[in-house]
């Protein structure tokens, strides 16, 4: 077997090292973000059910004027709590044995909210 020796210039070695570090850092960030979502799934908060999401949004469309300015707690398409604060709506949901309701502050169609910045 013949053998070929290639001398890699120092500048190429440095570039490779820098690029490797950047690549590894990006990979670590990506893994970290995937793990975040995995943790979210473990918490039972990852709602991947398209039907449930559609039910919630339909409920909101139909009821936004009725509950405008209040917080609501929804379980599927069922209202399980309502109040002027998130605490009130959440407490009501818990009294109804729903520990993780979908909590939203409802706004009326003609209400103009603050967009911040």
């Amino acid at each position: 077997m013949g053998q070929i020796t290639i001398e890699i210039p120092q500048s190429v070695k440095q570039d490779y090292q820098i690029n490797s570090e950047v690549f590894l850092e990006e990979l670590e960030n990506l893994v970290r973000k995937f793990n975040q979502v995995d943790n979210a799934t473990d918490l039972g908060l990852a709602n991947d059910d398209e039907q449930i999401r559609a039910e919630r949004m339909n409920w909101l469309r139909e009821n936004r004027e009725k509950y405008a300015g209040q917080y609501v707690a929804i379980d599927g398409n069922r209202l399980v709590g309502v109040g002027k604060t998130i605490r009130e709506a959440h407490e009501q949901a818990k009294e109804n044995d729903i520990k993780n309701p979908f909590l939203i502050r409802v706004s009326g169609e003609n209400e103009i909210l603050s967009g911040g910045l």
């Binding site: 975040q36 709602n47 706004s107 209400e111 603050s114 967009g115 911040g116 910045l117």
Partner: protein, 133 residues
């Protein structure tokens, strides 16, 4: 004296404008990452239109809502998306701008701030974060 306990400590760059946090948006099998600024003056979390589209949402199928700023008003559409900040996940009602040219992503009050405990020492660039239990 008052005391709060936090699980997460983040350090941010105080030389930059605003306080930016890494955010992951997830919908079914699609997810994406972005940076959003904490904005306690924003009533909701609002993101660029392109991000909603990348998640597969038809933006105008969401619930329309008008927002105001010092320079005028804008329209955005609300959707139910999972919002993850620093490992804390929230099944939230968030908004996407109608206008594709609006590029400011904000973490606002309803849907994010109202379900966390937040501490900031801006002098040191430190941000403490916890889920409200």
């Amino acid at each position: 004296m008052f005391q709060l306990n936090f699980e997460k400590l983040l350090e941010y760059d105080t030389s930059q404008t605003g306080i930016g946090l890494d955010v992951t948006l997830k919908l079914s099998d699609k997810m994406l990452s972005l940076t959003a600024k904490i904005d306690t003056g924003a009533d909701h979390c609002i993101f660029e239109r392109q991000f909603g589209e990348k998640l597969g949402l038809k933006i105008e199928n969401g619930i329309p809502q008008r927002f105001s700023t010092v320079t005028g008003t804008f329209l955005a559409f609300g959707h139910n998306v999972m919002l993850v900040t620093e490992g804390l996940a929230f099944d939230s009602y968030i908004f996407f701008y109608e206008n594709e040219h609006q590029k400011i992503n904000v973490l606002g009050r309803f849907g994010w701030l109202d379900r966390i405990v937040l501490g900031v020492i801006d002098y040191e660039g430190k941000l403490y974060l916890n889920r409200y239990e």
